[in-house]
Amino acid sequence: MSLLRSIAAGLRSLFRKKEVDRELDEELRAYLEMADEEKMKQGMSPKEALPTVRLERGSLEVTKEVVRAASWESFVETCWRDVRFGLRTLRKSPALTVVAVLTLALGIGANAAIFTLIDAVMLKSLPVANPTQLYRLGDNNNCCVMVGTQNGGSFVFVLDLRNNPGGFVSASRDVASLFLGEKVLYYSMDRTGASREVVGAGAPLTDKPLVVLVNDATTSAAELLAGALKDNHRALLVGSTTFGQGLVHSVQTLSDGSGLVVAIAHFKTPSGQEVHRKGIEPDLRVEAPRQLLAPSEVATSKDLQYEKAVETLLQRINS
């Protein structure tokens, strides 16, 4: 309440300065004149009374200034005067003004740009529920998990194993575990015919729909991964039959520095199907065009298998 009144009174004296000034002037004048009369009544001459009163009570102008300076609006006034003074000074030296304005503009611009970048790269979290659970697979951008298609706030996954030559079996086990957890991934059969089951580790990272893209160049460890996901009914395989390389190789180093590669086991999928020379059959056959896709064309409308994969996923989500 009193704050509002103070603001109202301040604004009044800001915008109706003359009126308020005159009022204060009149009030103070009356005050001093009454003091003068008092002194004269006590027997002083007007000549004596005036300076005595000014000395005892303060002069008119000084008092006015003191009263004015005590209010908040005087601060506003001072600021406004300073701004006008600053502008006048700047107008007098245009060259300096231009340099100063440019320096500030460039400085602020550069800061804003850098902050925008840092915000996007480092500060803003990814548009997923649990960014800390995101995994990056492999070192290359065209590595296996290619796309999380966002659909009504729900993520689906397309795992592209096309032209994937495989590699370490342990890596395929790690990737399979992300989707399957502790399920049987494949069987390893040694030369005696004894089978050893290989099981995934840890809890699955996601149960969102998954499509795996495969083709006739999906080989070895990549086939194992595709087979594990298919036989556990975790993923839909789209594409063509895989290469069919289902042997485990071990490398023996020889004394002259050369090596001897020995097949030590062959694999079966969880459903007991042989991988070697058979390959993994896709659930949905979509033949790829003859020529290889350029990396920039992968996952675009030129990529028929990818298109089919996304279409199938969306159908599954919507049904």
């Binding site: 309440m1 009193s2 009144r5 103070s6 009174a9 301040g10 009022e23 204060l24 009149e26 009030e27 103070l28 009356a30 005050y31 001093l32 004149e33 009454m34 003091a35 009369e37 008092e38 005892e56 009570r57 303060g58 000084v62 008092t63 003191v66 009263v67 005590a70 209010s71």
Partner: protein
């Protein structure tokens, strides 16, 4: 030998003005004279602090003002205490009495 007029204890001017105005509405000079008389010349007020206090009290809604003619047929701004100001005066007077008696107790302790 007469002692020099002394400055007010900080923060008490408002209370004294409210007290003066609670007796009857008065113009600025009247308030100054009344304060000096009642204090028997101990307090001498300069116009600056007095009018700053008027402005402050008025903006706080504790006093209100009105232009009126004086007995000497001069126009002067008369101040009067508001209801809110009266309440403030009561609470400040109580607080003041409390503090003075506390200080006195401390000073008189032997």
């Amino acid at each position: 030998m007469a002692e020099k007029p002394s400055d007010l204890v900080q923060g008490t001017l408002d209370m004294l003005i409210l007290k003066t105005l609670a007796l009857e509405p008065m113009h600025g000079y009247g308030i100054a004279v009344r304060l000096e008389q009642m204090s028997k010349g101990v307090f001498r007020l300069n116009a600056g602090s007095l009018f700053v206090a008027f402005q402050r009290l008025q903006r706080a809604g504790l006093i209100k003002s009105e232009w009126k003619g004086t007995e000497n047929s001069r126009r002067a701004k008369y101040y009067a205490v508001t209801e809110q100001g009266r309440k403030r005066l009561n609470s400040e007077t109580r607080e003041w009495a409390r503090q003075v008696s506390a200080i006195a107790r401390i000073l008189e302790a032997s």
